[in-house]
Symmetry: C2
Subunit: 180 residues, 2 copies
């Protein structure tokens, strides 16, 4: 289907509660382990989502509305959460995510975007010309890619524990395609 | 890590709230669409989880405790939810999942399993000898495989809407490995 603003917002609004239900107070044996060197734990992923709220999605929407395709988006730092998350608990990161997302959605509503706005163009430093509609669809799908990743990172911790059932569990046979 | 009963239960106990936060009242444009012929929507997956609560996990644990490896588990019907879910709303299926899971975890606690019980063996009709510990690890990992699937099925609906960002979103490049 095409990007549909109410449908996009419906997903975006749910993600903080989804991650809260899954991760808050879950034993650290799940939340602080990753898939090996250079990969992310669930804790790291929540930090990455927070970094995206601060520097990626709405900042880029503002660039599109203000400058169109005359100016490249600022590049996104895929390891930017390392500094921001240092010394915080997962509970703090989840609180932060809920707050940042609520603020972001309030700002999005205040933009009062019309269908013609959604066709406005911006320029991604690597991907070239993109539309505001594609940016918003990607914001929601990016949540899903990281929910997909978190489910895989958690499952990985039981990779050996499931024994012969390994063959039946798709999540254990996922090629790490959304790794960091 | 090895299967650890409190860690397993911590995950199992969270899944109903995770799916509730993600799916309840989400527009049907997300929840009722699948990935093409022969694949499942999020609605279908919740029905499948309910069918598993009824016929797979604890029934098999009971077979292990009662019969050991002298009797095959009953085969699991991977399309068993079709009849059970017919005519129900997604909200009803989510309510059912929360209730079945809570009852299942209460029964699991009542079993008061000791470390030696976890090593008891059963016989899977296709996989051969398995342990109770592996069955419990698989129960939790099966939740994660379907969370992984649901995130992929939802994301699939925006496969075209994200435009050039497609290449960056791992969930859109997942080979459907946990499809039904």
């Amino acid at each position: 289907m095409e990007q549909n603003l109410p449908n996009t917002v419906a997903l975006l609004a749910r993600t903080p509660a989804v991650l809260d239900a899954l991760l808050r107070d879950l034993p650290e044996a799940w939340t602080m382990r990753n898939e090996g060197a250079g990969t992310w734990s669930a804790f790291d992923v929540v930090g990455h989502l927070n970094h995206g709220e601060r520097t990626d999605w709405l900042p880029r929407a503002r660039v599109i509305l203000e400058f169109g395709a005359t100016r490249d988006f600022d590049p996104f730092d895929r390891w930017g959460q390392e500094r921001e998350s240092a010394g915080k608990s997962l509970g703090q990161l989840l609180d932060e995510f809920a707050r940042l997302r609520a603020e972001g959605l309030a700002e999005l509503r205040a933009m009062n975007l019309q269908p013609e706005d959604l066709e406005r163009r911006g320029r991604h430093p690597a991907l070239g010309v993109v539309t505001l509609s594609q940016l918003l669809a990607t914001w929601a799908t990016h949540d899903l890619t990281h929910l997909h990743q978190i489910s895989r990172v958690l499952a990985h911790q039981y990779d050996a524990a499931v024994g012969p059932w390994h063959a039946y569990l798709g999540v254990l046979n996922c090629g790490g395609h959304s790794a960091p």
